[in-house]
């Protein structure tokens, strides 16, 4: 028989749950080393300029937090859904909608805002994202349509909608026809929390999402229902859990969080509505959710790592002329290695031929 076999463990290994993400990171770095070597770069120097140099300054650490903020907000919501087998992969679109509704409010009240404008924009962003996520929820429950495909299609629709708006209704009237809105006024801009960096109030929202997500998962009946539905849908049915309600709840929640993330981008580091508000945060958040073990605290750590891959990609592009696309390759590899090494949680690797059954 085969030389290497997988033997089921009696019980899932608790140690491996924590070991495999580290193993995946190590394997990704190793592959990065080989990749840089193959591309003709000095691999150590390249890895240093990618993963270390960007965070050697206060500003760099601040950028790390800025990039991690939307990732955490999106991933916490996605993870809660994934736990219940609700595959929302439309965070990118929901983030975009949040930027449109939140940013739209900033533009609508341009010049006549007040202290109330920012809270209104947060609520508006959350509603925008939630409405966008409500579509796949409704289509799954009413028409049995796969939320994977519908939520993904809506990503493209949201991006095109944003593109239309910045070329049309949202365009700066004094902006020489550039496809971008006016710069937001001070009362529509999230305050900077850490002087000398761009870290903004959104980072606090992200921490609140982590705490709230943990409470929901670990300390509420709804969290328990989500867990049961995810593990054994049939048992959840016998227990009389309302699965429809869980689908609604997880999609609306993840949509609202992604919407807040999008609003935070336009009212934070960007400061206006433009056609390019996200380098794919909504997609990367899927990786963050898995890497963080679908747990809010794990997600926080995973988001910082993924944020590093974004700013590392930019830094390496400037320092060594590495292509920016390498960020995506690293992110994809990391998820691959994680999924591959996860087999160790439930199986042991055994070498040698199988002994004949007695």
């Amino acid at each position: 028989m085969s030389f290497i076999r997988l033997e089921p463990r009696g019980q899932a290994s608790k140690t491996m749950v924590y070991v495999t993400p580290l193993l995946a990171v190590a394997l990704t770095l190793l592959s990065g080393f080989i990749l840089f070597l193959a591309m003709g770069f000095d691999p150590l120097k390249a890895l240093y300029s990618f993963f270390v140099a960007p965070v050697t300054s206060v500003r760099g650490v601040g950028e790390l937090v800025v990039k991690a903020t939307p990732l955490v907000l999106c991933a916490v919501g996605l993870a809660i859904g994934f736990r219940a087998n609700v595959w929302n992969i439309g965070a990118e679109g929901q983030l975009t909608l949040g930027a449109i509704t939140g940013g739209g409010l900033a533009l609508a009240f341009y010049g006549e805002g007040g202290w109330w404008l920012l809270p209104l924009m947060v609520i508006g962003g959350a509603i925008g994202g939630a409405v966008w996520a409500a579509v796949p929820a409704f289509l799954r429950l009413r028409f049995n349509a796969s939320e994977i495909l519908t939520s993904l299609m809506l990503n493209y629709v949201a991006l095109l909608l944003l593109n239309y708006l910045v070329h049309g209704p949202f365009r700066d009237p004094d902006g020489f026809a550039f496809p971008e809105s006016r710069l937001f006024e001070a009362d529509a801009t999230l305050p900077v929390l850490w002087a000398g960096t761009r870290v903004h109030l959104g980072a606090l929202f992200a921490l609140l999402a982590v705490a709230g997500g943990w409470l929901l998962i670990a300390r509420t009946f709804i969290g328990f229902q989500i867990k049961v539905i995810g593990l054994t849908p049939a048992a959840a049915g016998y227990a009389g859990f309302d699965q429809k309600r869980i689908v609604w709840l997880t999609l609306l929640l993840s949509g609202a969080l992604a919407g807040i993330a999008g609003m935070g981008e336009v009212a934070g580091p960007i400061g206006q509505v433009t056609a390019g508000i996200s380098p794919g945060y909504g997609y990367t958040a899927i990786i963050v959710a898995f890497l963080g073990r679908l747990h809010p605290v794990g997600i926080l750590l995973a988001a910082l790592l993924m944020a590093l891959s974004f700013i590392g990609g930019e830094a390496a592009q400037i320092a060594m002329g590495l292509p920016k696309a390498i960020t995506g390759v690293f992110q994809g590899m990391l998820l691959f290695f994680l999924l591959a090494s996860d087999v160790l949680i439930r199986y042991r690797v055994r070498f040698g031929a199988r002994r004949a059954a007695a």
Binding site: N144, I148, Y164, H167, G332
Partner: protein, 309 residues
């Protein structure tokens, strides 16, 4: 008056626009029939697109380009196959990873090839037939890949429903435990199916970059891989219906390009939403019939199989 003259070119363009979807959807259909759900179609198409394009530019041979594209698609798919079949990774998560990886990898490979023009494939010309009004160009004036995609439809159908290997593949997709008990190599059969799906996605991608556009741009498939996945559901896992679906979407794509030409004033971005909205619409229309989906979907679709468990 002009509108009538437009129908010929629109019809011809529709078949061309449908071709990448048809390749990818037929491949994924076979994969799903074997009980595997590979959501990485978009990633495999992109890798096929960039590899085919790069090779075609460097060798000057379109045939080599398409062959390499199919191999590259299959190689990308083999990553998915190893992870889901032998390391028992979640198929949904792995498929997503494959797409994210494919987007990044293709952009990396393709960065030296952006903006390089390539000559598309020559079009068929049959004196008399190609000059026929309305249908001439659409039916007798396409290039070889368009005809190949259409020819693949009966081939896949015959394979699935008229050969022993096809029967075994379907059995594996319907009940892998029973197929295993009968002595069929479930994992090997699924592995081959996934490779075939990758090769077809690679061809679909390469058709875009080497023939339809023809040039390379990052993320140039713009969701076609996902639309192909939706087409498989729309087709209720039947090859001929997948072809009709692909034509429908080819039509929507072309319609969107011509609406403005017809003097209807709608912003281009809103028109570009049409294929995506149409995808959602057809998914809803087909999925609402739960019994029909349950009857046609392979019963083991997306389920993991471990021979020792």
């Amino acid at each position: 008056m002009n509108d009538f003259a437009l129908i010929g070119p629109i019809l011809a363009a529709m078949f061309a626009a449908a071709t990448p979807l048809l390749f990818a959807a037929l491949g994924e259909l076979v994969v799903e029939k074997s009980g595997v759900l590979n959501l990485g179609v978009e990633g495999m198409m992109l890798v096929g697109a960039v590899c085919g394009f790069a090779v075609a530019v460097q060798t000057g041979s379109a045939t080599t380009g398409f062959l390499v594209a199919a191999l590259a698609g299959a190689a990308t798919a083999s990553l998915f196959a190893v992870l889901t079949l032998f390391l028992l990774a979640n198929q949904v998560a792995t498929g997503l990873a494959l797409t994210l990886f494919g987007v990044g990898l293709s952009a990396l490979i393709g960065q030296g090839f952006v903006g390089i023009p390539l000559e598309g494939l020559p079009k068929l010309y049959v004196p008399g037939l190609t000059d026929l009004p309305v249908v001439g160009q659409a039916l007798f004036g396409q290039d070889v890949m368009v005809y190949l995609a259409v020819a693949a439809v009966p081939l896949v159908h015959l394979f699935l429903y008229r050969t022993r290997a096809g029967l075994v593949l379907r059995a594996v997709g319907e009940n892998h435990t029973a197929a295993h008990a009968l002595g069929y190599k479930v994992l090997r059969i699924r592995f081959l199916a996934v490779l075939f799906g990758g090769a077809m996605a690679g061809l679909g991608g390469a058709f875009l970059s080497m023939d339809y556009t023809p040039m390379w741009a990052e993320n140039m498939t713009s969701g076609r891989g996902w639309i192909a996945l939706a087409l498989v559901v729309f087709a209720t896992w039947k090859p001929v219906r997948a072809m009709l679906g692909a034509w429908l979407f080819g039509g929507v794509t072309i319609l969107q390009l011509h609406v403005q030409g017809l003097g209807i004033d709608v912003p281009s971005q809103l028109l570009s939403m049409l294929p995506y909205l149409a995808t959602v619409l057809v998914l809803v229309l087909i999925s609402r019939d739960v019994a029909r989906i349950r009857l046609n979907a392979p019963a083991c679709l997306g389920k993991l199989f471990h021979p020792d468990a």
